[in-house]
């Protein structure tokens, strides 16, 4: 396991998503240093890989490959976003007329179909979207995480036009749904990894706010690009 190799590969992979204006944080990747005595602000362990976040340092240990690192970064992000009114969602996000259309659903629901039916360059992500409330406006961002296209998303964001729950059908139909139904649809698609009650309360607050403020719809669609015709502008 060569960590400088993994570090270089990761740096390249996430370079489009780095921000040189952000406060610098040390990232340690499999460096073997012992920080056991210091309690992290957040910790997570999965299949031997360990993530620990401290005030000025993020440590990844026992991470064997890029896929594992990708997973750990997603976990870290779900925690970090709690203090930024945001969350990660299994959803494809497509930009159209300057707005973000967020299509959510589990594997097989049609996220990659929607992405493949959208113009090249308009897909912010076909797998994992980041939604965040900024200055009272919900915006959707692309993420670098791999989807079925095996391509990273785009480091772009746009105000959210709507969140659409994908349902496959023989005709295209869009139906507005109530906030509680949006929340019900969001929950199984949200990425979250903490069983801590306080973190879950914070997440539920953020999701409820999103459900109340973002227009939500059920979208029954045929597997062709004609579904765009029924979407709200």
């Amino acid at each position: 396991m060569s960590d400088s190799q993994l570090f270089i590969a990761a740096s390249e992979r996430y370079s489009a998503f780095s921000d040189s204006t952000a406060r610098p944080v040390t990232i340690a990747l499999n460096d073997g240093a012992d920080r056991e005595s210091v309690l992290p602000e957040f910790g997570y362990e999965f299949e031997g890989a360990v993530l620990r976040a401290f005030a000025n340092e993020i440590r990844f240990d026992g991470v064997e490959n890029q896929y594992a690192l990708d997973s750990m970064i997603r976990v870290f992000l779900t925690w970090k976003l709690l203090s930024h009114s945001g969350f990660l969602l299994h959803a494809a996000t497509v930009m159209r007329s300057g707005k973000a259309y967020v299509f959510m659903g589990r594997s097989g629901a049609g996220k990659s179909t929607v992405a493949s039916l959208s113009p090249e360059g308009s897909v912010l992500t076909d797998e994992i979207s980041l939604l965040r409330r900024e200055n009272g406006v919900w915006r959707a961002y692309g993420t670098p995480f791999w989807g079925e296209f095996r391509a990273a998303g785009s480091n772009t964001s746009a105000p959210v036009a709507g969140v659409f729950r994908l349902l496959q059908a023989t005709e295209n139909r869009v139906e507005a749904v109530r906030p509680v139904a949006i929340l019900r649809a969001l929950l199984p698609n949200v990425l979250f990894f903490s069983a801590e009650p306080a973190a879950n309360r914070r997440l539920l607050d953020i999701l409820s706010e999103a459900a109340e403020e973002v227009p939500g719809y059920n979208l029954a669609f045929r597997k062709n690009a004609s579904f765009w015709e029924v979407l709200p502008a």
Binding site: P179, V180, L183, L187, F192, P197, A199, L204, S208
Partner: protein, 100 residues
């Protein structure tokens, strides 16, 4: 399960909940299961405070929803039992550790 009238009820402290659309949505973080309570259920949920008994909760329900005390009590007990089976609420053992 039988509950004694004097036993008081509390919310499971491990839960996260939020009111939305006049309903209450409750998440249990350990299994990520979502529970929904209707308006009357939400009313009871708000009043479950670790002090009130089923009878006291039923009394509040009867006052606020114009139902007879008998119906309020049976509805309250049924709802508490349902919520208890889903581990949303629990009883506080009476002093001396006696449990129903």
């Amino acid at each position: 399960m039988t509950t004694m009238p004097s036993v008081s009820w509390q919310k499971n402290p491990a839960l996260a909940w939020r009111e939305i659309d006049d309903e209450t949505v409750i998440i249990s973080p350990n299994d990520s299961v979502m529970h929904e309570l209707n308006e009357a259920g939400s009313f009871l949920w708000k009043n479950i405070d670790g002090k009130k008994s089923a009878a006291e909760l039923a009394e509040l329900l009867a006052e606020n929803y114009e139902v007879s005390p008998d119906i309020a009590l049976s509805d309250t007990e049924a709802l508490l039992e349902e919520m208890s089976s889903r581990k949303l609420v629990m009883t506080i053992p009476a002093a001396g550790g006696a449990r129903s």
